[in-house]
Symmetry: C2
Amino acid sequence: MTKYNIPVQVPVGVSNKHIHLSQNHLEQLFGPGHKLTELKPLYQPGHYACKEVLTIAGPKGIIPNVRVLGPLRSQTQVEVSRTDSYLLGIKPPLRDSGDLEGSAGCILMGPKGTVVLEEGVIIAARHIHCSPEEAEALQLKDKDRVNLSVAGERSVIFNNVLVRVAHGLRLELHVDTDEANASFLGNSDFAYILEKSTEKEAIPLVVKEFQKV
Amino acid sequence: MTKYNIPVQVPVGVSNKHIHLSQNHLEQLFGPGHKLTELKPLYQPGHYACKEVLTIAGPKGIIPNVRVLGPLRSQTQVEVSRTDSYLLGIKPPLRDSGDLEGSAGCILMGPKGTVVLEEGVIIAARHIHCSPEEAEALQLKDKDRVNLSVAGERSVIFNNVLVRVAHGLRLELHVDTDEANASFLGNSDFAYILEKSTEKEAIPLVVKEFQKV
């Protein structure tokens, strides 16, 4: 088991609800030939928040002014928190980015049109981004899982956090707003990798299953 | 250090935003001589949700239909999540119930009147309730702190959870909606006491402070 002598400091990025659009949906929502307008760069190189915002609608409510993130993707993906999902009245699954099959639907409303999204709405699973060089230094590889500690008034340990290694990315922990608010994490904060996850973390789950029998 | 051979199963109670009222404020909001009407009992004996609801207002927004819990208290206390606090535009501190000095204010609006609350709004610190008999069996005493594990897709460990021992209470972990949504906990779920908290949990905090210098 890899256990670090000193916890490894990781910058935290809090993901508010946001939308990744396909070319097709971009044009349906903002008009033919529309191009995304960069508002500000994100921490991960090449990624940016756009001027464009949309309204997300579900059977129980709407959320206006949801930010579109660039660049475009092959498939539209809407990321909300569980809190957001209750407001909308939908049940998105917890998923890694890009894993959209059988996920929840919603309606997207833009200035020039509406898209009825049959699937594409997820609650994003927390994860760490890092470059191959950072991964090597930390003795980690793609799809490893690690336990991270958050200090402070609402100290928690996040178990089994997915590690995603890719060229051009930088070391960063992505959590959603529920996770950030539950642990009082903000964008200028840090979390700490304690160790690689082991099967130990699964023990309470077994106990739980046993109790339900 | 107390470390249990088998994690101790604790039922989870998720606290949505709610209001405890003083006699004085009850009458200002619902009219002179008004009595609370029990809607349903809570898990802790003697505590109950009331038919009465109020609107909470802050500088940035309002939250309607916030449940009043009974019985009455000597001082009005409003418990919200950090998510709620952003919507209202107020900054309540993380506090134990009853510790209201210097906490945030808000406006409460009822059918018969309005109360401008100078202080009394808090984000409730997660805690475990238990009876003296349960505490003894678990080798815990009032104001101890424990680490609890939550299993499942969003497995976390909640560090330094306050233990509150009192006659007439039952073993239960209270978390707010941010903590519940961050760990996918619901009212029919369980958390597991792993051990008494030690000073180990404070280490990342020290690292964090050091990094900021």
